[in-house]
């Protein structure tokens, strides 16, 4: 003990003394980080912890809550209607992720190939526009597109497919894909532009080599562009998957989850449970399960797309 006592201060004095200034200096750096941490802690982490707490209670938001243990979680994982809403969110990945990423890849390759300046700039602006308007406004535009007298039906009639016209958002079979199309519309431009900027980083000589090998557009796309854009595709997939699983604005403004429950997604369900039906505990449990699902899907994606960097 005594040896330790006697040696410890000396060693530390010896090593710390010259560093003292920088030690203080380094800790004073926390003052720069503190405000951000405070905001983040109070308005993101604290509510998150509170959500965990709420999820163990049966609470109507007003009177005293009752502790119910894991009952809310069991309910989310067994109630067919709530499970269906989670299923819809995963279905939307087809429209929010698969179509925009593959479409974006094609568009990026085409824009690169055509190298027409005027058309290129115009196309980029037009494709990107949906990404910057509010999701709620996008929903209004598409409610009009999909209405009985809307442009979607008008175009079908014009090509002689009158038999297919319908009120798309009111149709049990078609409402979910129709809502999905809105997501495709929003995400396509983002993916195109991101992937296009990625193609700029691919060495032009590789394209030249492929051309000399006699590779056509499709071959080049599959064997040069696609592998070269691995990281960018990863980003597109991550961002769009989150937008599919956590979708709210579009559905809230277009169908409110109807007809029936055919377009109900967890985001809208959380809002309804939490604010309309006063089931704060159940809403919190569903929100947390949604968060967990997003993490479960997104984290492996990071590995998948970044491993070989």
């Amino acid at each position: 003990m005594t040896t330790l006592r006697s040696t410890a201060p000396t060693t530390s004095r010896r090593t710390v003394a010259p560093k003292k200034k920088s030690f203080l200096h380094r800790w004073s750096g926390w003052l720069f980080v503190l405000p951000a941490l405070l905001f983040y802690g109070v308005f993101v982490l604290k509510p998150l912890v509170t959500a965990v707490e709420y999820s163990f209670y049966d609470w109507n938001g007003i009177t005293v809550a009752t502790f119910v243990g894991f009952e809310n979680y069991v309910r989310v994982l067994t109630d067919p209607q709530l499970l269906a809403s989670i299923g819809h969110a995963f279905f939307l990945i087809i429209f929010f992720t698969v179509l925009p990423v593959s479409g974006g890849l094609l568009m990026a390759a085409l824009l690169r190939e055509l190298r027409s300046k005027g058309m290129g700039t115009f196309a980029r602006t037009a494709l990107f526009l949906p990404q910057i308007i509010p999701g709620a406004a996008a929903a209004i535009a598409w409610v009009w597109m999909f209405s009985a007298s809307g442009t979607a039906n008008q175009m079908l009639s014009a090509i002689g497919l009158d038999g297919l016209t319908r009120a798309w958002l009111g149709d049990f079979t078609w409402s979910l894909p129709a809502v999905g199309v809105i997501g495709t519309w929003i995400n396509l431009g983002f993916c195109t532009i991101l992937l296009l900027s990625g193609t700029g980083k691919i060495d032009a000589s590789i394209y030249e080599a492929a051309r000399l090998d006699g590779a056509g557009f499709v071959r080049t796309l599959l064997s040069v562009t696609l592998p070269g854009l691995k990281q960018e595709i990863g980003v597109c997939v991550t961002v769009t998957v989150i937008s599919a699983l956590a979708s709210f604005d579009i559905i809230f403004m277009s169908t409110q989850g109807g007809p029936g429950y055919s377009t109900m997604v967890p985001g809208v369900q959380v809002y309804q449970l939490g604010f309309t039906q006063s089931q704060v505990g159940l809403a919190s449990a569903l929100a947390l399960i949604l968060t967990a699902l997003i993490l479960i899907v997104v984290l492996p994606l990071q590995r998948l797309f970044r491993s070989e960097d």
Binding site: G41, L45, K46, V49, T50, V52, E53, Y54, Y57, W59, N60, G61, I62, T63, V64, A65, T66, F67, S147, A148, R166, A167, W168, L169, G170, D171, F172, T255, G257, G258, P259, G260, Y261, Q272, F275, T276, Q277, S278, Q279, V280
Partner: protein
């Protein structure tokens, strides 16, 4: 830094992190008793001394209502201010469906409005959010109001409506029925609007045969529920239905009588009596299409009369829902059921406003805005043929004591449940039995039975 030092400092750092996270989490968790136990809703809900005098000191009140009622509220506030120049009432509006959703939360906030439209009266009273109006009721003699109206103002402390103490006064009443297109009616060879369920069904058949839409409804907002409840009112009966909506213990909607009403609607949908795209149609679109002569009937209420009068002129009529035994029964409830939040600080002034709602001036304002008047007394004059017809229908309804509440107001989750279920029903994706069972489950959950 040596490799070793680096490792220890890293480990220390991790320990700090873990400790900090743990402290943070446990701090947040242990610091709290169950949510809602912080006494946020403590407020005196039954005062001892009240006054009908509001003096001349400046008082400012806030009123909270659905946006669809802005016109009538503004007119009422202006008229009230003429009587009491020292009272300023500021109105705040939300979209109608949002208002009913937000109301409980707005009422329990620290600065609640002084006058607010109450959607789910029973649940609100049960949560202790409203002021018991008994002392003012005797001071202003509200017990003399028509019994059918008073029932809609009352609730017991445990949330059973229709009995107990008074908590609200209405600014006016809605009344439902069906609008009919006169020209189409005569084209089908019918001289007048159907009065019995049989006549109504015959008219639908004829319309179908003539390739016309019988009933147009915007079921994206669950509007088929209006026609459904017309049938429900007959098969279940006014008293039983009201007691379900009022939340009487043991009440159920999953009964054979209710099932037969649901069957009627699903048959109508299957036969094409209701517009095929009803699930993709908004209520407002449905009204617009009815006005353009696309359908024979439009089941709705007084709130559409001004617009229809303007667009259709003489070609539109209004009638109460068909009755089996000649007794008029229809959904009719307060347009705004105004209560005074427990935490309001100006209850005497707010109560004076509630009392004003049954005055002749206020009754005239209600009628001018297309609603049926609150309280009783001389019938105010209507404007326009359709409005007069609607007012007449309401007077008949009150005379027959046939007011029924809306099934959507049975509980907080009832509206969403009915809307989704009735959408499934018209598309043949659920059976009448299952629909009613699902709604009953939601209802019991909401009421905490």
């Amino acid at each position: 830094m040596t490799q070793n030092e680096f490792r220890t400092s890293r480990r220390r750092l991790l320990t700090i992190a873990v400790a900090a996270t743990a402290a943070f989490t446990s701090g947040a968790l242990t610091a709290c008793s169950p949510p809602g136990s912080d006494g946020a809703n403590a407020g005196s809900s039954s005062p001892t001394t009240v006054s009908t005098e509001i003096g001349s000191v400046p008082i400012s009140l806030t009123l909270y209502d659905g946006a669809g009622l802005k016109a009538i509220d503004d007119a009422l506030i202006a008229a009230f201010r003429k009587k009491h120049p020292n009272v300023t009432i500021t109105a705040r509006f939300d979209p109608d469906n949002v208002q009913s959703v937000n109301a409980p939360r707005v009422l329990s906030s620290d600065s609640p409005p002084d006058i607010a439209r109450i959607g789910a009266l029973g649940e609100t009273v049960k949560s202790g959010l409203l002021t018991d109006l008994t002392p003012w009721a005797s001071a202003y003699q509200w017990e003399k109001l028509p019994a059918g109206q008073l029932a809609q103002y009352k609730s017991t402390p445990d949330g059973v409506r229709g009995a107990g103490a008074q908590y609200t006064v209405a600014s006016g009443f809605t009344v439902t029925g069906f609008y009919y297109n006169k020209e189409l009616l005569s084209r089908l060879g019918l001289s007048q609007a159907p009065k019995t369920p049989e006549e109504f069904e015959t008219a639908l058949e004829k319309a179908k045969a003539a390739n016309l839409t019988g009933i147009i409804a915007g079921n994206q907002n669950g509007q088929v529920a209006t026609s459904f409840q017309f049938a429900l009112n007959r098969t279940v009966g006014q008293d039983k239905l009201n007691s379900w909506i009022f939340g009487q213990p043991g009440a159920s909607i999953a009964t054979p009588d209710a099932t037969s009403a649901a069957k009627t609607i699903s048959e109508w949908a299957a036969k094409g009596y209701i517009n095929r795209d009803t699930n993709g149609t908004q209520a407002s679109d449905a009204m617009g299409r009815f006005a353009r002569g696309e359908a024979l009937f439009f089941a709705s209420g007084n709130w559409d009369s001004a617009a229809l009068q303007k667009q259709m002129g003489e070609n539109v009529g209004f009638a109460l829902p068909p009755a089996a035994d000649g007794k008029a029964v229809a959904m009719s409830d307060p347009s705004s059921n105004f209560g005074i939040p427990a935490k309001s600080k100006n209850k005497d002034a707010a109560a004076a406003f509630l009392n004003f709602l049954t005055s002749p001036e206020a009754r005239q304002i209600a009628v001018d805005n297309g609603f049926a008047p609150s309280g009783s007394g001389e019938q105010p004059t209507g404007n326009g043929a359709l409005s007069t017809q609607v007012q007449k229908a309401f007077a008949d309804l009150v005379l027959a004591d046939g007011q029924v509440q809306y099934i959507q107001n049975a509980s907080n989750g009832a509206n969403a449940a009915w809307t989704a279920q009735i959408q499934l029903l018209v598309d043949g994706r659920t059976t009448p039995e299952d629909m009613l069972k699902t709604v009953q489950t939601q209802y019991e959950q909401d009421l905490g039975k």
